[in-house]
Symmetry: C2
Subunit: 334 residues, 2 copies
Amino acid sequence: MDGISERKKNILRIVVDEYIQSALPVSSKAITQKHLKDVSSATVRSELSALEEMGYLIQFHTSGGRIPSPEAYKLYIDELMERSALTPEQVRYVKDTFDTRVSRAESIVKSVADVISELTDYTSVALSDPSAEKVKNVGLFPCGKTALLLLVTDLRILKDSFIPLPEGMPEEELARISTILQSVFGGRRMDRVREAEAEAMQAFTAYKETCREVLDALFAYTSRKDVVLSGGNKSIRRAEYRDVEKVEEFLSLVESKERIGELLAQEESEIQIRVQIGGEGVPSDCSVVTASYSAGGRQLGTYGVVGPVRMDYAKVVSVLESVGEILEKVIKNG
Amino acid sequence: MDGISERKKNILRIVVDEYIQSALPVSSKAITQKHLKDVSSATVRSELSALEEMGYLIQFHTSGGRIPSPEAYKLYIDELMERSALTPEQVRYVKDTFDTRVSRAESIVKSVADVISELTDYTSVALSDPSAEKVKNVGLFPCGKTALLLLVTDLRILKDSFIPLPEGMPEEELARISTILQSVFGGRRMDRVREAEAEAMQAFTAYKETCREVLDALFAYTSRKDVVLSGGNKSIRRAEYRDVEKVEEFLSLVESKERIGELLAQEESEIQIRVQIGGEGVPSDCSVVTASYSAGGRQLGTYGVVGPVRMDYAKVVSVLESVGEILEKVIKNG
DNA sequence: GTTGGCACTCTTTTCCTTTAAGTGCTAAAA
DNA sequence: TTTTAGCACTTAAAGGAAAAGAGTGCCAAC
């Protein structure tokens, strides 16, 4: 026995569903009229007051209906809510996005964040930590008096910066350096790139200074964790943010890449869903649902949805799970 | 004679300044107390009502002070406001940003937009039209089973996409194609790239199919106008957008790249400032200040600031002009 | 255990009054 | 002719009481 009857659970689910949808406190009458037509409002009322007693519901004033507590949301997420699969069109949309984005060499992390925001209608955030990626190709692309340093990892995240070249450096030299870079660093995990510094420097025979610069730029990539945001102003349209102060609070969270980074930087199992409602670095009226994606033992980034506590968790969790599965497949086949 | 006395102009300037700062209707009393201590409020009052008669001021109700009309803003921008130069720190900030961004190969258009938004504290938009840019370097970068098509223009806008390669294609072939691409297209204006299609196809001797794909991807770049946004949620914090509907209106403008593109896609002289207040594709409560930058006869993009009608035009115009000058210098020396 | 009924509580709405701000006008002063 | 002081007038904003509305809690009956 869980201490909480099936009927109570059902009623709690109704309350949460209803409140998520309407943003209004839920009354016993509304429940009996819309969902539980076979019992009277008085019955529901007694159940509601029991649920309040147990800490699942909150009542601001005696005539104001009830809203779910954070505990209710947790229970809702764990047991009550009904997940829904993506529609075939949505699945197609996700795959198409990945395909076209990847061929246009856009960061896959950004693409995933965009897709999540698009499907959930909430602000999404993502943390791309390059440590676990593998260097696929690295080299210099000639560009007049400068060269473009390129690094392509197996996640297809592409980074680049211009390196000034000394006067009169022959073009073959660039190719030589590229070959060395590729043979020394190719296939390495990003967090192991630095270890090959000595080896690389030894292989460089001329233009050591330029090579030094190249290495420095390259090393800078390997540790650059990137926080990506998508759909930033979707949240502003939500009911809880009619209040300017709340918007401020939300924006200050979302705009601070450090704080978002901290929220995301954790865990790393399979598609792992984690929900933080208020507290611990999250403003009281915000909720963060994060998911860590990985495939073949490699992290594919941590993604999250940020929004008000009254969030459509069923939708968000469904989307996060589905997108994760699709991404895994895409990565494995790519 | 302009039909409008110096004193009227002065008073109008005070009203606009005051209203821009406070967002509150300006009263005759406030004017005499803060600025015109040598005349009485009654005098100012008669001037104000004359200015209202002339269409420069608007009064919502008889006891509510007055606010500037769009015509007043126009006059203010043309004659009344005092421009201010950037502080030395700001100038340094702009230059530094350009320097580091360019060496990190970020789009200069995005950098300019960021700088403008940062300095003005408004949402900024930019339209990068590649037509007038010149191809600096173009080529393929080997990347396993695919190749990365890279295009660097003199504005350092870098575009790239992955091209799948046929099985067993030798690496030298990539270099060959790159050389051809560079010699055929290098130095061309972007809008002239297409014209060399036949010449390029003729030069390709093998792997014609892949070459075709490369050309298609390349041509796609040449026409891709890009709308860039920066500081999107700065505007939401402004006084006029306490109202959710207004925010909606603003966001729907800002989020629609087409509409922004239309607003920006015009003119092309020197640093050309243009102001649109309401009307013609701009929501009634929005104002757009655009500036077209060019150096040495070449367009460097069109930039704009989007915000409420009550905008700090003096600041915005000053920033747009100053940033334009700095950008010109940077481009000429680069 | 469930239900109908009803009193009770608290918010929301409405309407009215008061207050405050600012103007418009006029007659006098400069 | 322009400026000023004074005062009546207008209107929004602020305050407050009363009425309405929504929901609950509880009790007695089923």
